[in-house]
């Protein structure tokens, strides 16, 4: 190696990790939102929440398949979803938060939908063709998630004093978990430098400048949040993660190699 040669980030090892993070975000969020099935306050919202959970499942399938292919260890979407232990999942904790009441559900959906719009808009410009193709498609679907969340922000914040209280309580509870989304560790920094993913500081600014007026426009206050620790990204999860994973994986694990 001659003087002046720089060793750039090793995209080949960073990208599978990043794809796993996004794939796990989508998978765990899908699984969690599906717990509204047959429990939502109205039939129309039951259908809406489950349709969005299905959207996230589709994103998870695409992302996990890409992660397995790039990793080159023979893992596909199913082995990644059903055979990894809890500490190998690298989703942000925001995605695994229990649904709570409808206010908390809408608060989390708002944070996630705006995040996905900013992130996928950035990823549509990725130097990686497959990731760019995925993001160009996914961003269109995320628009409807943001619209749905916005309608409920309006109804709950502008409804009764009880609905407004619960909507604000949902925001206050969920918002600190958003900090993990802006994590700028070596993986993200290396991929950003290579033009594969958008700059995390820029994403944080875009997210803040979108959610703050959105919430305030509905009379809600917006807790301060900034990039913080990223426990989920290193496989550390909440206590409620265990039953979520168990329910998701047990059928597959109970019948190894089974097919429909």
């Amino acid at each position: 190696m001659t003087a002046g040669t720089t060793r750039g980030p090793d995209i080949g090892s960073l990208l599978p990790t990043y794809l796993l993070r996004l794939g796990d975000d989508a998978l765990i969020l899908s699984q969690r939102m599906s717990q509204w099935y047959a429990r939502a306050p109205r039939l129309e919202d039951d259908i809406a929440l489950l349709n969005m959970a299905l959207d996230y499942l589709g994103h998870a399938r695409a992302l996990l398949t890409m992660a397995g292919e790039r990793e080159g260890r023979g893992r596909d979407e199913d082995s990644l979803a059903f055979l990894r232990p809890e500490s190998d999942f690298v989703n942000a904790q925001l995605m695994e938060l229990p649904n709570g009441d409808f206010g908390r559900t809408i608060a989390r959906l708002t944070a996630v939908a705006i995040w996905h719009l900013a992130l996928y808009e950035g990823l549509a410009q990725s130097a990686d063709e497959a990731l760019s193709a995925f993001a160009q498609k996914a961003v269109i679907e995320c628009r409807y998630h943001a619209e749905y969340a916005n309608l409920w922000l309006q109804r709950l914040a502008g409804g009764t004093s009880e609905s407004a209280r619960r909507m604000q309580a949902g925001i206050d509870y969920v918002w600190p978990f958003a900090g993990e989304l802006f994590c700028a560790d070596d993986t993200v920094a290396g991929l950003a430098e290579a033009g594969v993913v958008p700059d995390p500081a820029g994403l944080e600014r875009r997210w803040l400048s979108a959610v703050t007026p959105l919430l305030r426009g509905h009379g809600l206050s917006c807790p301060a949040v900034s990039a913080g620790p990223a426990p989920g990204r290193s496989g550390r999860h909440l206590e409620s993660f265990t039953p979520l994973i168990a329910e998701m994986q047990h059928l597959h694990r109970a019948h190894p190699g089974a097919t429909w």
Partner: protein, 175 residues
């Protein structure tokens, strides 16, 4: 060659969509390419939604009709970009939807793109387009839910004739 590309495309495109009445997958615009190499026919599909649960059924149906036409080896490729847009639906598909009481997606527009800024601006305005009732034509209609029986449709009702109807949501590409 076991079959010409044109013939294979025609056969594949004629497969009916499992969810939408009378509409073929060709009219939906999801068959992007058909390649024939010796005895192998490869069909490239762009799904309407990434998670569309009908894709597996559609692929099975396409394989079945191609087998009937003498093809033994049918393969599928999923292409996500350019992303499927409701602009790719043929006019005949839109007419059939309307004929079945489903409000078709808005006509093609080239100025609207999905970006964070565009979405947050439209959230502030919160003024959904008026959709005429497919049954009576009245514009006194109201959205009940952004999501309907399938992910691609929203549920509306007509305040004039009191009939509910589904509306096929517009999907358009981002920047």
């Amino acid at each position: 060659m076991v079959i010409s590309e044109q013939k294979a495309r025609q056969i594949a495109g004629a497969v009916p969509d499992p969810e939408l009445p009378d509409i073929t997958v060709g009219e939906l615009g999801i068959i992007r390419d058909v390649r024939v190499h010796d005895h192998i026919v490869t069909v490239v599909i762009t799904p309407t939604y990434i998670a569309c649960p009908a894709i597996e059924t559609i692929q099975t149906d396409i394989a079945s009709v191609l087998h009937d036409a003498g093809v033994t080896d049918v393969r599928f490729e999923r292409r996500l970009a350019p992303p499927w847009s409701t602009d790719w639906m043929s006019q005949s598909a839109r007419d059939k939807l309307a004929g079945h009481g489903i409000s078709p997606p808005s006509p093609p527009r080239h100025d609207v793109i999905v970006t964070l800024d565009h979405v947050t601006a439209s959230l502030r305005d919160n003024d959904p387009e008026t959709r005429p009732c497919p049954a009576c034509g009245s514009t006194k209609t109201q959205e009940i839910s952004r999501f309907g029986a399938t992910a691609c449709k929203a549920l509306w009702r007509c305040l004039a004739c009191r009939e509910p109807f589904e509306h096929f949501k517009s999907l358009r590409p981002g920047a």
